[in-house]
Amino acid sequence: MRRPVSRTPSWVPPVAVVGVLALLVAAFLVIRWYTTPVAPPPLNIDATQLVVSSITSLPASEFDAVGKGSANNLIKAVSGSLLTGSNGRPEVFYFGAEYCPYCAAERWPIIIALSRFGTFSGLKTTSSSSTDIYANTPTFTFHNATYSSQYIDFAAVETTDREQKPLESPTPAQQALVSQYDTSGSIPFVDFGNRYASSGASYLPDVLSGMTWQAIADSLAQPGSAQSKAILGSANLITATVCRLTADQPAAVCSSPSIQAIEKTLG
């Protein structure tokens, strides 16, 4: 004799599947929350100065050993009248924000590269937003920092702080540069004297994930480290671009084999 077995109601399997999937997604979110690095506390003035001194006094051999490294060259040739700064020298103009993780990544090579042409002062440590991707990427801020050089001028605008509260506004002239050359609207945007421009970061911020400023500075002393390849490779790209603006001055920086090799690849 055959008799029908008591079957599970037809709605149970689909609901069970959806339930299991919901639990999996919840588990993924918990894992992500536990593995996201916390924001390291900003360094005091003395500790910041030590880190800045460390990353801006790397020997030329270190830069030559890395070359382009793992950096992605986002620097494109643009046309326009030469952008000059308040001292009449070719100007490098940075436009970004403190919350932005890509800006956080790009400030490291910008500081390292421009320090080969001049001196920053007043740099402070900060981290990118804790609620954005690549959360809490350690970096510096250009807000209230100054730069002096006999070769170039530097201007920076950090539009918001890491909480995305307004911080600085570009001048109408600076806004015009952003509108003209940063057509994708991506930040960070860097204008190299209206001769070259870049939008975005030349390496992914995850290479700095969970690291302290000092740990990053220490890693730059090792040419084979992932941080060296990314940051110093990016710094070499920026250095070569600035050398184009300064007619390869200073020679001690611009005549190095790695910089000359990169300069040949610039448009």
């Binding site: 399997p13 599947v17 999996l24 894992i31 992500r32 609620t131 991707i133």
Partner: protein, 139 residues
């Protein structure tokens, strides 16, 4: 019918993502703390095994087969066809779970186009599950 519609919708999304990958067309997608298609699609997980072939190309193949199975089961019901559809959609669902893991845990960003395709896979799986042969009896 629902499985076929979901399959064609998923196919359309996969074709769109593949065309964007191979062209200079900008992807229509907002970017904020959670949603960031560019972050997901620029990652190493967006291509198959380190090749230049986008994962969405595999999605095209999967949705074509899935749509064909859905069309076949719509025209001619049968336990073997239903089981084949369930097995194929289960493969898709397992892949989706892995891709969602990648998005949330490894990348910390969600691609809404990818999520829409993932949702279509889930719909197809649930339809296949509901179509399991109901003629199982015990003596």
């Amino acid at each position: 019918m629902l499985g076929l519609v979901a399959g064609l919708a998923g196919l359309g999304i996969s074709v769109y993502l593949t065309v964007v990958h191979y062209s200079t067309i900008a992807l229509a997608c907002p970017a904020n703390a959670v949603v960031n298609c560019e972050q997901v699609l620029a990652s190493s997980f967006a291509v198959i095994g380190g090749s230049g072939v986008p994962t969405s190309a595999a999605g095209i193949v999967w949705f074509v087969v899935s749509s064909a199975l859905a069309a076949a089961t719509w025209r001619a019901r049968g336990p073997r066809l239903a089981r084949a559809q369930l097995a194929w959609s289960a493969i898709g669902l397992v892949t989706v779970v892995y891709l969602v893991y990648v998005e949330i845990v490894l990348l910390g960003a969600v691609c809404i186009w990818c999520s829409a395709a993932h949702l279509m896979v889930l719909v197809i799986f649930l339809v296949a599950l509901a179509r399991l042969p109901e003629d199982r009896v015990a003596s």
